[in-house]
């Protein structure tokens, strides 16, 4: 009979197991700390410290370039960014008769909005505000005034971007993962193809897509050809109504491969025996997906959703390269505004305040997602 050799247990391990709190334990702690130290130091220096600084600076008037001393200004930066007030404008009336003034066509005449929002002592609450949007209610007009219209647009665009991109990208990535999870010949070629855009720098991808979207670009050529010339070329990035959509489509295409790989890793952790058992019991493909695949992907789904949401909130490079926020603020984003103000406009405090707002936004969305996707079984 062959004897299985027993390796001697090393002294350190034995002592640790035996005592749980021996002299070796201490050495291990030191070693552990020493190994963690480089990462901890780097995290502190490049993540925690800048964040604390940004938080502090958002309450000051810190400038990038200025001889003026920095001072605390309280919440001024946040008030300037976030103030939104409704204003109901009534038509002008004749001071004598009290009747509504009308122009030649009978339409009521209104005061000039800027007279109200620019240093008007009667309306101190509207000072410096601008029209964000307005609706007509009968002969009156309801204005939504904001002190920072561009930031409000950036906020709205980013939210819309997240709402569209997160579900679409996650679903498409799952479909791709299901497709390339088949044991087919040459499936690796497809895996590589789908993953390729992820490896290319987003700046390069954005530049290429600028050409694709140009009025004489590839997309318009293809659409014209497919429609036998009936399609009128669209200036995708130059038109306020198509620009954000164009950037969404390109962003989804660019990062879908990354999330596909995460889904794929989730798919491959599901044991094959479960599918075999389901087949034996006569389950259809759809039933297998519903009752085997999807429950098995639970944790992956939470991860993918959280990662996509955070990435979508950080929308920047595409905007910077492709549209710089235009046309007419149709593609402003929160991070693009933070960078524009902090560095280009030299307003570090304003940029910091935007970063803090973004942080709170992402934090609350992540908490909400965790709450919604929490494990309800327990």
């Amino acid at each position: 009979m062959q004897r299985i050799p027993v390796k001697p247990v090393p002294e350190l391990v034995r002592r640790t197991i035996a005592s749980g709190r021996g002299p070796g334990r201490r050495g291990e702690e030191v070693a552990g700390l020493a190994m963690a130290a480089p990462a901890v130091v780097l995290l502190l220096a490049f993540l925690i410290l800048p964040f604390v600084l940004a938080f502090v600076m958002s309450f000051t008037n810190q400038r990038l370039v200025s001889p003026n001393p920095t001072s605390f200004v309280g919440t001024r930066n946040f008030v300037q960014l976030l103030t939104v007030r409704p204003f109901l404008m009534t038509p002008l009336t004749d001071p004598v008769t009290g009747e509504t003034l009308r122009d030649a066509t009978g339409a009521p005449e209104y005061p000039v909005l800027r007279d109200i929002t620019r240093r008007n002592p009667a309306y101190p609450q509207f000072d410096g505000l601008r029209e964000l949007t307005s609706w007509a209610i009968g002969e009156r007009r309801l204005y939504l005034l904001a002190s920072d219209v561009v930031f409000m647009r950036a906020l709205g665009n980013t939210m819309l971007f997240v709402l569209v991109v997160a579900p679409t990208q996650a679903t498409l990535a799952l479909l791709l993962a299901l497709m390339i999870n088949q044991p087919l010949r040459g499936v690796n070629i497809f895996r590589t193809l789908y993953f390729m855009p992820v490896v290319i720098s987003i700046v390069v991808v954005s530049l290429l897509w600028r050409f694709i979207y140009s009025p004489t670009g590839l997309l318009n050529s293809i659409l014209t050809w497919l429609s036998f010339g009936n399609f009128t070329p669209v200036d995708w990035l130059g038109n306020p109504s198509t620009a954000l959509g164009a950037i969404m489509a390109m962003s989804i295409w660019q990062a879908v491969g990354f999330h596909m790989v995460i889904w794929l890793s989730g798919l491959q952790t599901i044991p094959g025996v479960l599918y075999e058992a389901a087949s034996v019991e006569g389950a259809s493909t759809l039933q297998k997906f519903r009752h085997v695949t999807w429950p098995g992907l639970r944790n992956t789904a939470v991860l993918v959703l959280v990662v996509i949401t955070m990435q979508a909130f950080a929308l920047f490079a595409q905007i910077d390269v492709m549209t710089r926020g235009g046309p007419r603020d149709a593609t402003q984003s929160i991070v693009f505004q933070a960078v524009q103000r902090g560095f280009e406009r030299q307003d570090i405090a304003g940029g910091s305040a935007i970063s803090v707002i973004l942080f709170l936004l992402v934090l609350s969305v992540s908490l909400l997602q965790r709450y919604v996707t929490r494990d309800r079984v327990r």
Binding site: E131, D235, G238, G326, P327, D329, D347
Partner: protein, 420 residues
């Protein structure tokens, strides 16, 4: 000779050499043109000549890519590592002077005599920087095209008037031969917008800021003249005469040369490829007079002395040395820029009498107006850029200009008036 001896001799030689070098005080020079061999060679030649010409100072060069240059200077200023001599973009200079990055020049009397006014960087009555060259803009056109359409060729003394220019654009558009009749270069986002388009605004009678106080733009950037400009500007795009904000760089480079654009608003730096394509047929025309005289933007990169330099006398000596005509001409020949003096222009290939680019010197001399010399310019430029893009994309002209005025005022207020 054995090894020890050889080492000793080498060491002594090195010591002796470094002793010689040590007699000269080292001055650092930062330059924005990394990647451009021609520029580098000229700067190195000036430095070499200067170092050889005297025994007190030794200038060393550090180069940065243009896109990273301004952030590098800001970072260096924050950490207290500014060089002795730096180069600075003309309109940005007041911002740096105000921030305490730069000190006024102390050149000898008459050192700047004969220089184009736009290359002398002044802020609050002091000269802080001086440029070895300027850049100028013109309307690129082809003589054959204008003659075929019976269009008068304008001169510096008799530029096209507003009505004439409108008629010309319509005539050219009616030919149907061009994708666009007047390309202004919307592809070149950034500083090009205020540099190239604010002269139109000024020719209409508006401006970027009220230059009497430098505290407000009310009535100047959103007054009736500015609104007239804005309406005209918007109409260029709605009438399909001008490529819009989605124009790409490639079309900007080749549109005129390929004959797809009839007229192009462009800088002298683009002249060489156009000359190669059209030769004698090419014309550089002055900006139209929209009512308040034809205008072009002035001031390019200039040299100045950092505020923290311990050796301002050395830095000033270098700048004065670099202002010699031969170097101004070298830059002009090397990269096609407008030389800063008439006497240097005579030495150049292109700007002398009968030279292909001669007209640009007079354009600079007669029409150039510098961008507002205020530290607020950095913010004004971004605000104006956005307003121009928004109006081109169909935004309401009055609202957009009003918003731009408010934004400029808010920025000035946040900075306690920028020293005004």
């Amino acid at each position: 000779m054995n090894r020890t001896k050889r080492y000793t001799v080498t060491l002594l030689a090195a010591l002796a050499l470094s002793g010689l070098v040590m007699a000269q005080t080292t001055l650092s020079l930062w330059y924005h043109g990394a990647g451009n061999e021609v520029e580098r060679d000229i700067v190195l030649q000036i430095i070499g000549d200067f170092n050889a010409s005297q025994d007190d100072w030794r200038v060393t060069l550090e180069e940065f890519p243009q896109i990273a240059y301004n952030p590098s200077v800001v970072a260096a200023a924050l950490s207290g590592n500014l060089p002795d001599i730096l180069d600075v973009d003309g309109p940005v200079m007041p911002n740096w002077a105000w921030a305490g990055y730069m000190q006024p020049l102390s050149l000898s009397d008459g050192a700047l005599d004969g220089f184009l006014p736009s290359v002398i960087g002044e802020w609050q009555g002091e000269v802080y920087s001086v440029g070895l060259w300027d850049a100028a803009k013109a309307i690129y056109a082809r003589r054959s095209v204008l003659e075929a359409n019976d269009i008068r060729i304008p001169t510096l003394d008799a530029p096209w008037t507003f009505d004439e220019f409108e008629e010309i654009l319509e005539t050219l558009q009616a030919t149907g031969e061009y994708e666009y009749v007047f390309d202004v270069g919307m592809a070149w986002t950034g500083e090009w917008y205020p540099y190239a388009f604010s002269p139109f605004l000024q020719s209409f009678g508006g401006d970027l800021i009220d230059r009497s106080t430098f505290l407000t733009a009310e009535g100047v950037l959103n007054g009736p003249e500015a609104v007239a400009f804005g309406n005209w500007w918007q109409s260029l795009f709605t009438r399909g005469m001008t490529p819009g904000t989605s124009q790409d760089d490639a079309n900007r480079e080749t549109g005129f040369i390929d004959g797809r654009y009839a007229l192009q608003w462009n800088g002298n730096w683009a002249a060489i490829p156009a000359l190669e394509a059209f030769g004698d047929d090419l014309l550089f025309l002055p900006a139209p007079d929209f009512g308040h005289g034809p205008k072009i933007g002035g001031a390019s990169w200039q040299f100045g002395v950092s505020a923290t330099s311990p050796y301002p006398e050395g830095a000033n000596a270098f700048i004065e040395f670099a202002l010699q005509d031969e170097y101004l001409a070298a830059f002009s020949d090397g990269i096609g820029l407008v030389p800063s003096t008439q006497s240097a222009a005579l030495l150049t290939e292109n700007y002398g009498p009968g030279g292909a680019l001669e007209v640009f010197y007079e354009l600079s001399n007669q029409q150039s107006q510098i961008r507002p010399p205020t530290p607020a310019y950095v913010g004004i430029a971004l605000t104006f850029e956005k307003a121009m893009a928004d109006i081109a994309n169909g935004a309401d002209v009055q609202d957009t200009l009003d918003a731009a005025v408010d934004e400029i005022e808010r920025d000035i207020a946040n900075n306690d008036g920028y020293g005004f």
